[in-house]
C-alpha cells in the first residue's frame, strides 16, 4: 500500500473519531448535577422555578439530549460556536484571538524540546552508563517531576522579582510585536522544560535500544566510521520513536499551557479555559474543549503520517 493510500485510510478513520470527540465534549457538559442551567445561575436565590424553566427553554435545554446535540453540532459545523452567555460576545471571536498566543507558546515549547533532547539523547546513548549519561537521566527525571506551575512561580521569583530581568505580567500588545517575544521567554522555558525532559528520556531509551541492534554491529563490521554508524543507522530509527510520541508531546504541551498561561497571565487559550471554568461559561468551555480535541486528532494524524513516511515497513505491508 503506498503512502497515499495510507493517508487516505487514516483520513477516513478521522471522521468517526471527530464524531466521538464531539460526543465526549457534549457529554461532559451534561455531567453537572442539575444541568448546565444550575451551573450558570449558581445559587442565586432570586431566580425562581419559573425563571429556571424559561431559561431552559430559551437555551433549548428542555429538548431531548440527542436533539440538543444535533443542534449544537449543526451550529458548530456551520462555524457558529455560540455566544458567551453573560455578555453575548461571540465565542468565535474569542477563540480567534486566543488561539495564536497558545500556538506561539506551543511552538516555543516544541523547539526547545527538540533542540535540547536530540543532542542530549544522542550523547547519552553513545556514552551509555557513564557519568554523563547518569547526569542526564537525573536531569530529565527532575524535569518531568517538576510541577510546571511551581517552576513558573520560581522563575518569576528568581528572574522577575529578584533580578528584575523580565516583566512579570505580559502586556496587552498584539502577538507579532517584538516585545512579546521577550515576554514569551519565561512561559516558554516553563513549558519547554517538561517537554524536553519527556523527549530526552524517550530519545535516550530508543537510541540505547538501537545501539544494541545487530545491524549496527554489521555497519561497524563494514568499516564505516562511528559517526556514520550513529547518525545514519541509529538516529534514523530513533526518530521514528520521536514521531510516535509527537502527538503525546503535543498533548502534554496543550495541558501545560492551561496552567502556565495562568501563571504568567499569557493571553492564550489555556488561560481563557480556566477563566471560563471559573465563570461557568458553558459555551466557551465546550468550544475550547472541542478545539483541543480536534487539534490533537489532527496532531495524531500528522504524527502517523510522519511515522509511515519514515518507516518503510508500514506502508509496504
Amino acid at each position: 500500500m503506498s503512502l497515499r493510500r495510507f493517508i487516505l485510510r487514516r483520513l477516513l478513520l478521522v471522521v468517526p473519531i471527530m464524531f466521538g470527540v464531539s460526543l465526549i465534549t457534549f457529554g461532559l457538559t451534561k455531567l453537572a448535577p442539575g444541568g448546565p442551567i444550575q451551573l450558570i445561575i449558581g445559587f442565586n436565590p432570586n431566580i425562581g422555578p419559573q425563571d429556571i424553566a424559561s431559561l431552559r427553554a430559551q437555551y433549548g435545554l428542555d429538548e431531548p439530549l440527542w436533539r440538543q446535540y444535533l443542534v449544537w453540532i449543526g451550529n458548530v459545523l456551520q462555524g457558529d460556536l455560540g455566544e458567551v452567555i453573560g455578555s453575548g460576545r461571540s465565542v468565535n471571536g474569542i477563540l480567534l484571538r486566543r488561539i495564536p498566543p497558545t500556538i506561539a507558546l506551543g511552538l516555543f515549547g516544541w523547539v526547545i524540546a527538540l533542540l535540547v533532547a536530540i543532542p542530549t539523547g544522542i550523547y547519552a546513548a553513545v556514552n551509555k552508563d557513564q557519568f554523563g549519561d547518569d547526569v542526564s537521566r537525573v536531569v530529565a527525571l527532575s524535569g518531568i517531576s517538576l510541577p510546571n506551575f511551581w517552576l513558573g512561580l520560581m522563575l518569576i521569583l528568581l528572574f522577575s522579582v529578584k533580578m528584575n530581568l523580565f516583566p512579570v505580567l505580559a502586556p496587552r500588545k498584539p502577538l507579532w510585536h517584538p516585545d512579546m517575544l521577550w515576554y514569551l521567554v519565561l512561559p516558554g522555558l516553563t513549558i519547554g522544560t517538561a517537554s524536553s525532559a519527556t523527549l530526552m528520556r524517550i530519545m535516550r531509551s530508543s537510541m540505547a535500544q538501537e545501539m544494541n541492534k545487530e545491524y549496527v554491529t554489521a555497519a561497524r563490521a563494514k568499516g564505516l566510521p562511528e559517526r556514520t554508524v550513529v547518525l545514519k543507522h541509529v538516529l534514523r530509527n530513533s526518530l521514528i520513536s520521536v514521531a510516535t510520541v509527537a502527538a503525546f508531546l503535543t498533548s502534554g504541551i496543550l495541558a501545560g499551557s492551561v496552567v502556565v498561561e495562568t501563571v504568567f497571565n499569557w493571553p492564550g487559550l489555556g488561560r481563557t479555559l480556566v477563566q471560563a471554568v471559573i465563570a461557568r461559561e458553558i459555551n466557551l468551555i465546550m468550544a475550547i474543549t472541542l478545539f483541543t480535541g480536534v487539534a490533537l486528532v489532527v496532531a495524531n494524524l500528522l504524527a502517523d503520517i510522519a511515522y509511515a513516511a519514515l518507516d518503510p515497513r508500514i506502508t509496504y505491508d
Binding site: 466521538g20 470527540v21 461532559l28 527525571l141 510546571n148 490533537l296
Partner: protein
Amino acid sequence: MSTQRGRIQISGFEPERVTERESLSDWVEDKGTATESRWQRTWRDFKRNRSAMIGLVVVAVMSFLAVFARPITVSELSALPFFSGPVTVQPFAIAPFDPTAILYLQPGHADVQPYDPPSLEYPMGIDGSGRDLFSRVLYGGRYSISIGFIAVGLTVFVGVVYGAVSGYYGGWVDEIMMRVLDVIFAFPGLVLALVIVAMLGGGYWQLVIAFTLFGWAGYARLIRGEILSVKENEYVLAAKALGAKDRSIIFRHVAPNAIAPVIVQASLAIGTTVIGVAALGFLGLGFPPGTPEWGTMLDQTRQTLIQGPGGKIPWWATVYPGAAIFLFVMSMNLIGDGINDALDAQEGGAVARGGGG
C-alpha cells in the same frame, strides 16, 4: 586409519557412565539458581538501584507523615451501634499545629504576623493567613497522595480489564474498543479533569472522579498491545495445543508478561496525578481556598509575587509547598524508573554477557 569415504558409526561413548557414576569433583551443574522466580529477580535488581531505593524510602516517609500528621477521626462510624460519637482512627500528631489554626488568634502565639519568615518555632514560616506552614505542608500530603493512589488503583483495574477483553477477543470488538480509546486520547488528561471539575465542582471525590473517568485508557492500550503480541507467541499456541483453557492461558502465560509495563506506567502515573491534583488546586478549582493542600497553598501565594520587586517577598510560602510536590513526584518517578530498569535487565542479549556462542 581408513581414508575410505563411507558411513561412520561410533560406539563406546556411553552417557550412562556419566550419569551413573559419582561426581568426580565439587563442580555442580548450574541448575539450582535458575529457578528464582522472575519477581524475586526483579526485586533483587530493584534493590541494587540506589536511587530507586531512596525514592521508595522518601515515598514511604512522606506517606507516613501524611497519615500521622494530625489525628484522623471518622465521623461516619458513629452511625454504627457500638460507636458513640466520632471515632479517632489515628491519634498521633506529628505536625505541631492544626493546619487550619490561625496562630495569632491562639493563646501564646499572638505576636505571629502573616508571612513571618521561618524560625525555630515555625520551621517553614507563616502563611498569608497566619497559619503555620510546616504543619500545613506535612498535612497537605493527605490530599494529593491519597487521591493519587486511589485514582491510579481504580484506573489500573478498569484499564486492564478493558484492554484484556479487547485484546483477547480481537476482531470487531477490538476495533471498536480501540476507536473509543482513540477518542479519549484526543484530549489531554488535565483538560478533561479540568472540565469534569468544572461540571461537578471541587472537592475530594470530585477530584478522584476527574482523574479516574478517563485515566484508565492508557493501561487499556498497554495491556491490549501486550496481549496481542503474546497471543501470537509460540508458547501460547503450545499451551493451546496441549489443551489448556482460555482462562488459564490468560492468567498463567499472558498476564505475567503483560503486567510489567502496566506497573511501570502506574508508578509514573501516581506522580502525574499528584501534580494534576495540585494543579487544579493551584487554579483554585480543586478545594476551597484555605485548604492545606499543596497546590491550593501555592494559589494563595501567587498574588504576593505580583507585587513586584521592593516588597518583602515571602519566598518560603512558594518554595516549600512546591518542593513537597516535587519531592514526592520525583521519588515516585525514581521508583517507576527503577522498576522499569529491573524488568528490562532480564532481557539483554546473550552475547552481551559473553555467552551464546
